[in-house]
Amino acid sequence: MDKFVVNIIHRPEMVPEYAEKVTGHGKAEDIGRKALLTESLDIFKTQQRLAHENGLKTTIQMTYASLFNEEAVALAKEHHEKYGDEIALSLLGLPCKEFREKYNTKDFCIWMFSMEDKKSIVDDVFGKFHDMFGFYPESTGSYYLDADLTNYIKEKYPSVKCAVATCWEEGPKAYHTCNNSWYTLFDGGPWNPWIPSKQNTHAPAANEQEDSGIVAIPHLSRDLLACYDGNGSNFGTHPQNVLRGMIYDSETWEYPYLYNLIDQYRDLEKYNNGYSYNMMFVGPGWMNKMGRWEAPYELLEKSYSDGCAYYGKLKKEGKLIDMTMAEFADYYREKKSYTEPECALWRDILYGSDKQLFWYCDPYMRACVNMDQGGAIVDLRPYAAKLEWPVGIGTKHVQDASYPFLIQEKYRAGYFTHYAGEGTVRSAKLSYNGEEVDLCLCRTKAHFSQEGNARILTLDPVEIEFYDLTVKLQTKIYFEEGSSNIKIERNILEMSNPEAEVQLNEYMVACYGTTEYPEDMTGIILKCEGAGEQEISYEYKCREAELAGADAVSAVIPAIETKVSMTGSDKAAVGYVKEGYAFSPMFTLGYTKTISDKEVFATWLNLEKAN
């Protein structure tokens, strides 16, 4: 099955985000003013026209505000009849006169309300939708849907089978870009569609018991390299986001990057059994007549028109299938099993660096391998814990919906730190005669293969040069479906002195958190497991322990109900754990082993729920 599926979604948002604040500058706030409502509907009509002109069907996500507008309702019905568009319901676009009067709040993000209000709003919005259309929707969504909310919607409105449920790596970076005033904090989720678990939206369900009953799609298909470091809202299949990033020629108004991004997503079918996916969802605020920042309306409109035209061209060439969200949910359920991972070997398509990352996501983890750092794991989310993490008013996390990390190279330093301490990363070091080299400094490239249930990354060999010894080493990384572990194999292909012995140190520096700032590490339990077990309860005392032939070295992190461990393939290895200190609030797990020419040593990084 070789398919590139596209969901195109439009919402008639009668009071677009941005429009009131940005275009209305110099006017007192009035979200009911007629000019705003008329312009909003015109934008929706333009978007629909551009999709239909290019032979593409859409999912019309009615907003609460639009349900009070007869013209918007009539348009949705007409386009459903004429073009096969799905009439769905968005939980975005709540703000309008009616909502403000009823709920007495300016909050507009559904996941941030109290659970009581979430239920009340959902019932209100779904009820109004039913009044207008005579049925309940099959698709819904927001920028983020928390698990409790999804579970409520599914229980009360079982017709819902698809939802926009997160926006990839929209978190502290987006907050920062918006002058610390845009509170969409939900890093750590999948970048492509998945079946959310009942416990945590970001963590895919491992089985039927965990299945929330919906297929989730991300808000946009985002650049898996650019978004991880920079402002995510510049690098997605949202043509105006590309303009926001100024990734276009200001003379010719051309933006090959948008097409490169779409094409790289198409290319991901190689890693996912012939399936690839794209989602385009542009809110009307991005196409308002006043322009958006330095982009005039004509450029905004051109970019959306070009985006639709490119998808339309691919469809005409038989390279794309456009689906509504509900159609996609059915397709996805048929195509994917719970444990089948989502894989993406991703190349820099913007900065000219040739840098390469590999992203892996399954019900037990999300991981990123960075080939520019010798295949180090630079991001790790332990989905195995299926962490229950309620969000919204009245919970411990009013805004922060991110799935916690164990490793995050941008927020917690990664390989490079200033002067002291360590950053989070899973890598290895080789030592010889007092010299030490970290594989993070060995830039390489990877090749993907699949053997049975294992997805394998084979890295090009690297050479480590010591003063009087050169070691040629190859890394292979195995992700076995359903195993909840990552196997890393180091293969010594060649040594300039075949008699030499080198010390290999396989290590993982980790912590936990959702933001750049450190969390309290107190109470994390570090262990060298096996006969003669050793244990350290974290107190920032910089202690270390080791055990020859350790069965495992592990850390239990109660705050995120996670146990992470490393195990080795050879009992000759020495396991060790290291506690950090206040200036380096990390822990380290590792194995050291003496290795020689042609030797292979493997370690596993294992993730479990601990509660």
Partner: protein, 72 residues
């Protein structure tokens, strides 16, 4: 001196953009310059547009159409 407003187009501060911050600038018509409330950047429209071109230095592959995405 009258209050500042926004110009014809709503320019962002190029200096802040370089550090991944989208900050709207305001326009001082007496001085014919845009200024940033967060940092110390000021400049007329010509200067803003020039700096916006400079911003693109990091997008070295921006004009390139790419058709191969692996290293196989």
């Amino acid at each position: 001196m009258a209050q500042s407003g926004k110009g014809k187009l709503n320019y962002r501060c190029p200096s802040c953009f370089m550090r991944d911050l989208d900050i709207d600038m305001f326009y001082d018509k007496d001085k014919d310059e845009f200024y940033c409330m967060r940092c110390q950047y000021t400049g007329n429209e010509k200067d803003v547009l020039e700096k916006n071109e400079m911003i693109r230095f990091r997008y070295r592959a921006m004009d390139k159409r790419i058709t191969k995405f692996d290293f196989d």
